[in-house]
Amino acid sequence: MTKNFAALFCGILFGLGLTISQMSNPDKVLSFLDISGNWDPSLAFVMAGALMTLGALQHFIFKREKPIYDSQFHLPNKNNGIDKRLILGAIIFGFGWGISGFCPGAVLAAFGDGRIEPFLFTLSLGAGMMLFRLLQKEK
């Protein structure tokens, strides 16, 4: 249970971060990606803030042998190779992200705005994930 409450607390901070930074505003994201138009570089500061904070803190976190509420850190091996799946997946994701300005975290934070678009996007997102699972099973 403590694990769940820790996750809830982290989720709240994460949601506040997405909303305060306006990552949850798709038009703002598109203006960030539109470097040859009326470019709005604000969201580069989101990444800077996130990487500096996480980078500094994880320096201390990884000195521990294990997390507080689990027996181990669940990390993908960072020396895993770069394969076709990773590259193709990143291309498809980038294409989709560039069309709408929504990524998976931001769209959930946009639920708070009370409009239909985030729900529609999330349903399509789930459909895309299920499609992936179906195609994986066939192989």
Binding site: S21, D40, L54, L57, I68, L86, I99, G112, D113
Partner: protein, 142 residues
């Protein structure tokens, strides 16, 4: 540049980084949202409740913030059809590529994971190219 908001962007980004650091500190988990969403649908896996709590907290916090805090209005310039296409691509692509903006561009980059750095460079470039093509070559503003 009239919409330039570096301070709120930096503050929000720092909160995202803090949330990711605490999730690693408490639960030893990476704050990758696409992986969490996919994990929620994996009903056979009973280790899943923390994901629901995280995502629930994320949605709740955003809702409460929008109710009480002054903020610029969220705007959508894309049609319903494009929104659906985009959702399917993002869902499929993030599973195939094992991560999205949070998992690769924040958590993976902070760990200096080679895979995440490559993935982030690719999806940022493709997204920039997509916006260039749709906005400036095809002239799709909606």
């Amino acid at each position: 540049m009239e919409n330039f908001t570096p301070y709120s962007a930096f503050l929000g980004g720092s909160l995202i980084g803090l949330a990711a650091a605490l999730l690693m500190y408490f639960n030893g988990r990476i704050a990758g949202i696409s992986g969490m969403i996919a994990g929620v649908f994996d009903v056979k896996n009973h280790e899943n409740h923390w994901r629901l709590f995280f995502l629930g907290g994320l949605i709740l916090a955003a809702m409460i913030f929008n109710l009480f805090a002054p903020h610029s209005p969220v705007t959508y310039s894309r049609s319903t059809f494009l929104l659906i296409i985009s959702g399917i691509l993002v869902g499929y692509g993030t599973r195939l590529g094992s991560g999205c903006t949070s998992g690769h561009a924040v958590c993976g980059m902070a760990r200096l994971s080679k895979r995440s750095i490559v993935a982030t460079l690719i999806f940022m470039s493709v997204a920039i190219l997509t916006v260039f093509i749709t906005r400036h070559l095809l002239g799709i503003s909606s």
